[in-house]
Symmetry: C2
Subunit: 246 residues, 2 copies
DNA sequence: CGTAACTTTGATTAGTATCAAAAATGGTGG
DNA sequence: CCACCATTTTTGATACTAATCAAAGTTACG
């Protein structure tokens, strides 16, 4: 189960270290967390709404999203996860999940027994704090998503999402903020921004016409960061200590 | 500064105990947190966007909201707080705030030096976990707010908000879920749901005409819980271990 | 009692959803 | 490597929800 060579959890550790001080012992303990590496193909579910899980998941590669489905069939994507992100750390402590996690691309992730996380944070106060900070940042990002879908017009919502994905991919060492692989279909962009796929398509075309984005298959270029950031009212503070290091 | 008689932090402790096991020593330690009780009048600010604070706040009475202001002047309320809620516990660990906290009514709150919270969680792993759970629940609520403004029509958004406020006031021992004081103006309901005050007014009138709500000054009655819950697609699971105990 | 804040009403417009279908793309098996 | 099928993107026409603008009532409050 555990596998230390190569240390799979390194991306997660890096992210933790970007905002928290960890001792060498803490780092070792995190890397030594027992886990199972799992590969899933695009579209498959990591967790399903309402299920109970005793595992925490950490993204190793690819992209997943968290989404909730409404009685009328609508579906809202509430978060996107990429390399280094921990998902459902709360399974270490909580209850049943009120959302699903689905693979947006082929993904690899590490599944950690929730109990192992629980005992680690019991042992180490600094790891516990670091995990807490992870959650605090998640909350902060979630607040900004609420703002995005609640207060911005379609054009800004989409621009904002594109900026966030750029910054986060850059922070994760996956790409440059102004040129990256967009892991979402237009339908999914709609689910994340509270718009229909048709309208997303029209907005993307208009952004392209203005030269704010250049689309090429599944990748986007953002020729002028300032321009797209302004269109999206994007201010990266809410991503917090997610330092950009490329 | 500290004041143990009467123990002001009891509502907060109760909320923590509703989801986490705490030893007698932990309970004492929480109640003994040094703090200053502060009264603010409606409209005044507890924290301001961008400021840095070295204090955590706990609601003792009244209502506050968290909101973010956009460059175009729009404002999105992203959370509402009431008795027992801890706000900005993250100040124990983090950085600058990317939102403001404003009193919706006259409020009393306890201000705790962030450093005191930090040292408490360093000492007690179980308190640290309980604080973490608080944050996890906040995130869960925030996800549901994202869904609310992102995926629901106006009528459902408002109904959902009314249900949440009812359940939470009931859980906090402030009122019954089906009859409580609504601490928001229609403008503020609009800011929380991503609608204009004018439209909120019209939707409230239509909900009243259907008999789903009965308005009387600042209080609401919800004659049929099932009906309003259905209108709002309200499923309380996202509030998690917030047990209802009246 | 007077004023500011809040709620309500009416008329019009703008933004986005909806519906339907065609075009393009991507992956798969023969 | 091509043909085929499913998925995704694109286009067009229309409907509708909610925003906007403006102003009149109403309520709360000092």
């Amino acid at each position: 189960m555990a596998s230390l060579n190569p240390p799979r959890l390194t991306p997660f550790l890096q992210k933790m270290k970007s905002h928290s001080e960890l001792s060498a012992a803490d780092e070792q303990a995190i890397l030594a967390l027992p886990h199972e590496a799992v590969s899933l193909s695009s579209g498959s579910y990591v967790f399903r709404e309402g299920a109970r899980s005793d595992q925490c998941a950490i993204m190793l590669s690819g992209f997943t999203c968290k989404h909730k489905t409404l009685p009328d069939g609508k579906r809202q994507i509430v978060a996107i996860h990429m390399r280094g992100d921990g998902m459902d750390l709360q399974n270490a402590l909580l209850v049943s999940m009120d959302y699903s996690v689905q693979a947006l691309t082929d993904v690899e992730l590490a599944l950690i027994p929730a109990q192992a996380v629980d005992s680690l944070i019991t042992q180490s106060a600094s790891v516990a704090k670091a995990m807490w900070v992870e959650t605090l940042i998640d909350t902060s990002v979630q607040r900004e998503w609420t703002v995005n879908v609640g207060s911005r017009i379609a054009r800004s919502r989409i621009a904002h999402l594109l900026c966030e994905l750029g910054i986060r991919q850059e922070a994760a060492g996956l790409a440059r903020r102004d040129k990256y692989v967009l892991p979402l279909t237009q339908e999914q962009i709609g689910d994340a921004t509270g718009l229909t796929a048709v309208h997303v398509n029209r907005v993307l075309q208009s952004l392209a016409a203005e030269g704010l984005i250049v689309r090429n298959r599944r990748s986007v270029k953002l020729p002028s960061w300032d321009a797209i950031a302004q269109a999206g009212q994007f201010a990266p503070d809410y991503l917090h200590p997610m330092r950009v290091s490329v």
